[in-house]
Amino acid sequence: MELQVNGNKHTVSAASDTSLLYVLRDELDLTGSKYGCGEGQCGACTVLMDGKAVRSCRVPLSATQGKQITTIEGLEKEGQLHPVQQAFLDVDVFQCGYCAPGMIMSAVALLETNPRPSEEEIVAHMNGNICRCGTYPRIVKAIKEASNA
């Protein structure tokens, strides 16, 4: 099967029912996307599929055919951070940072469809992502900063 990730085409050997998360992490060594639950409950594995946030642990390889996948590794362009990454860095959001890639990908998807979200919209959109370290208000602040950038 083929997989288009961050603008590159890959031929992968995994079976068609394998989750996208496994293919990214174990086969392509794109380990920025994290495993947190494997059940669509935590958002640690969030990537973009044709610009929309999806939980890669719940997406079978077969569903990715002909789609463009963007992972956290694909946000930075020539050493230049994506504005959302920059805002998260400026706010110094995280503690352990394990949730970071999923949070950032969800935030990127939000701002792509809604460049000026209200606080309620941010909270509603991000609610599927867990930060067990509890940095939620700092994430909201970073998303607001990115939306004003």
């Binding site: 496994y22 935590c42 503690q95 940072g97 394990y98 067990r132 509890g134």
Partner: protein, 723 residues
């Protein structure tokens, strides 16, 4: 090359120093120390720890003498100007990689960027008992400061010698020693060039006073922040080794179950699959994770179950199986509670029940294990790399030198990763497979086979005089633990006991330990007593409190919140709670809203005041306090491990609710900076005020005085009666 002199090396057996007998060995060791680190100067906190670097078994005996109580740390200043700090402490999100580097940068007068922190690697760092109990800031911080200050003084001496000038003409800035007379300068590397000096920290070293801090005390951003937001940081679960297999362990269906029959043939027949069966341990290693999962499924197995307690009877179970606790840890007596109660104007007795809860770190337990010529290397996320090294050494009957544990900055712990289960399991599989094996626990495994914050029963019987002063306080905790068990309030008659129980579920450390349970009961009881004597809850607390630091945070939180200034809106309530733990003082005020129709409880806003001495990094401290409040909110409102007959019933995020964006109130944090006091850790203490504050706010809004944690897993509907 500078000649070794005895002056460089103090020999003092009492301090675990080399004796003249092993002096030869010592200088040999020292040479190897520098071979590993490169030339330059090194300052060690416990000189003995330098030997931990050595993998030579002949030095093992010397190693054994090192007292585990001593905290080791080294700073090495290389000829290349690179400053490397070696500490056995580990980073689990509490930002000590940053804050420890800050104190070193402060004392050495170097930019943050010139410091490399080597942490939690048993081959490279000195022994450390573990990163827990909020000890890194109060114990490791000052020691690194002293080591850095010692190095600073050495550099000045060396430069003065080189230039043949008086030290007073020199100053240190930006990694250089500058001669103020002629503006000449030498970089640290130039000064240490060709030298191999090893020095022990001197206790008398003078440190930069807090008021003069320039790097410490400021919000230096997280040192590896960019790695995290780009996904580049490798957590243990992200590691890959050449030829690595993926492991999986067959889990029992319930606690206390033992293997009856097992048929491994189908799994063994799968290509590339290695099956390991030793006693009750069954695991597989396979070329990919899917195959490993299929191999586990292919194993036919039956189990013998034994009857186990369930959540429905856990509190009775704990009381029935408790030790009487007299004279045990945390117990204390003062005055006579019988007389105290007899003299009371109002009495109040209550029993509080606290459920088991899970840490649920976002990165589940993971390990990569690799055997090479009888040496075992394991990468794993643990708060006790040296403890895991011990576990592995004893499990595989190896000397410690043959086991290396490397801890990579980990996807959090909250007291939940003191152990090394995944490390041992991965090592077992790798040993048989003769290839590196990675084992990552599933979320379900993490929720089931890790350990929990203990459940507990707390009985309080208390008496108060008619002027609102406490006269009697009897407090019994069954199973939670002794942390935070003592009342900070003044009471002439007290009896306090912790009664340990053999817990039916795995239990262990948690953020704030048992103080989350004890201070919840204590501060709930205080509120109900205030109400009995018709006093304002804050006023009642202050009246019975002497400890000025706790008073200060109560007052600051109340002030920030506007306590007493406004009345809560209908169906809203205000509550307060606080306490002290691990050298930190905290008080939280909370406003909650109850929906009278549905019984839903929403925490609207909280104000927390916190004080832990001199603040090293305000932004990161605020983040820790925030994290404690959000985590505390979960334990307060809805988190509980449900179990029946040895089975965990809610091992998924869909069933075990943790705080999310929507649950998070407006959080106001007030940090009191006591520059005159030593810095204490902050990862734990600020968690203790939130649960009682919410509980007391619910009581304020509805009159319902809850006595369980979690407070409202199903809302308040049942307590409010028919609308």
């Amino acid at each position: 090359m500078e000649k070794e002199t005895d002056a460089d090396i103090k020999t003092n057996q009492e301090q675990g120093q080399p004796t003249p007998d092993n002096g030869n060995q010592f200088s040999r060791s020292r040479r190897r120390f520098f071979k590993l680190l490169g030339g330059g100067i090194a300052v060690t906190f416990v000189l003995q720890d330098a030997f931990a670097l050595l993998t030579d078994p002949e030095n093992a005996a010397v190693l054994q003498q090192a007292s585990p109580k001593k905290v080791g740390a080294w700073i090495h200043i290389g000829e290349n100007d690179i400053i490397t700090v070696y500490t056995g402490k580990v980073e689990v999100g509490q930002n000590i990689r940053t804050s420890l580097a800050q104190v070193v940068a402060e004392e050495l007068h170097v930019p943050m960027a010139s410091i490399t922190m080597v942490m939690g690697d048993t081959d490279l760092t000195p022994y450390d008992a573990g990163t827990f109990g909020s000890r890194s800031t109060p114990s490791m911080g000052p020691q690194l400061r002293k080591a850095a200050a010692t190095a600073h003084a050495m550099l000045l001496d060396m430069a003065a010698q080189q230039w043949k000038v008086n030290k007073s003409a020199l100053r240190v800035a930006d990694g250089k020693v500058i001669n103020t007379k002629n503006n000449k300068s030498l970089s640290f590397g130039q000064i240490t060039k060709g030298k191999q000096l090893l020095k022990e920290v001197s206790e008398s070293t003078s440190l930069t006073p807090t008021e003069k801090w320039r790097v410490a005390g400021t919000s230096v951003p997280k040192v590896n922040g960019r790695e995290l937001i780009t996904g580049r940081h490798k957590f243990v679960s992200d590691l890959k080794q050449p030829g690595m297999l993926y492991g999986k362990v067959l889990r029992a269906p319930a606690f206390g179950a033992s293997l009856a029959t097992v048929d491994l043939s189908a799994a063994k027949a799968m290509p590339g699959v290695v099956v390991v069966h030793e006693d009750d341990f069954i695991g597989v290693a396979a070329p990919d994770a899917q195959t490993a999962a299929k191999a586990i499924e292919a194993i036919k197995v039956s189990w013998n179950n034994t009857e186990q307690p369930s959540r429905s009877n856990i509190f009775d179970y704990l009381k029935q199986h408790a030790n009487d606790g007299r004279g045990g840890r945390g117990s204390s007596d003062k005055g006579d509670v019988k007389q105290g109660m007899a003299a009371a104007y109002k009495k109040l007795e209550a029993t509080y029940n606290v459920d088991y809860i899970a840490h649920a770190p976002m990165e589940p337990r993971a390990a990569v294990a690799q055997w090479e010529n009888d040496k075992l290397t394991v990468w794993t996320g643990t708060q006790r790399p040296f403890g895991v090294q011990d576990d592995l050494a004893s499990k595989f009957n190896l000397s410690k030198e043959k086991v290396r544990v490397i801890m990579l900055d980990t996807g959090s712990a909250y007291g939940g990763k003191h152990s090394g289960e995944a490390a041992v399991e991965a090592a077992r599989l790798a040993k048989v497979a003769q290839k590196p094996v990675k084992l990552t626990w599933t979320r379900e495994e993490e929720f089931t086979w890790a350990y929990f914050r203990p459940a507990g029963v707390i009985e309080v019987s208390s008496g108060v005089k008619n002027d609102g002063t406490l006269i009697s306080w009897e407090f019994h905790n069954y199973n939670s633990g002794p942390s935070g068990i003592r009342t900070p309030y003044e009471v002439p008659n007290q009896q306090i006991q912790y009664h340990p129980v053999e817990s039916p579920l795995y239990q262990g450390s948690y953020r704030g330990l048992a103080s989350t349970a004890n201070i919840f009961a204590l501060e709930s009881q205080m509120d109900d007593l205030a109400s009995l004597v018709s006093m304002d809850p804050l006023e009642f607390r202050l009246k019975n409190l002497q400890e000025p630091r706790l008073k200060a945070v109560f007052e600051a939180a109340a002030e920030g919140f506007g306590w007493g200034k406004t009345k809560p809106a209908p169906n809203h309530g205000y509550g307060i709670g606080g306490g002290t733990e691990k050298g930190g003082f905290t008080a939280t005020c909370a406003e909650i809203a109850v929906d009278p129709g549905t019984g839903d409880v929403k925490v609207v806003r909280t104000t927390t005041a916190f004080e832990c001495g001199a603040i090293i990094n305000p932004e990161h401290l605020e983040n820790q306090i925030l994290g404690a409040i959000v985590q505390g909110l979960g334990g307060a409102l809805f988190e509980a491990v449900d179990f029946e007959n040895g089975k965990i019933l809610n091992p998924h995020f869909a069933q075990y609710k943790v705080p999310r964006f929507k649950d998070t109130p407006v959080v106001e944090i007030i940090m009191l900076n006591r520059k005159d006091l030593p810095s204490a850790g902050a990862g734990e203490a600020p968690i203790v005020g939130i649960a009682p504050a919410i509980r007391n706010a619910i009581a304020d809004a509805t009159g319902v005085r809850l006595k369980t944690l979690p407070l409202v897993p199903d809302g308040l509907k049942a307590n409010l009666g028919a609308p």
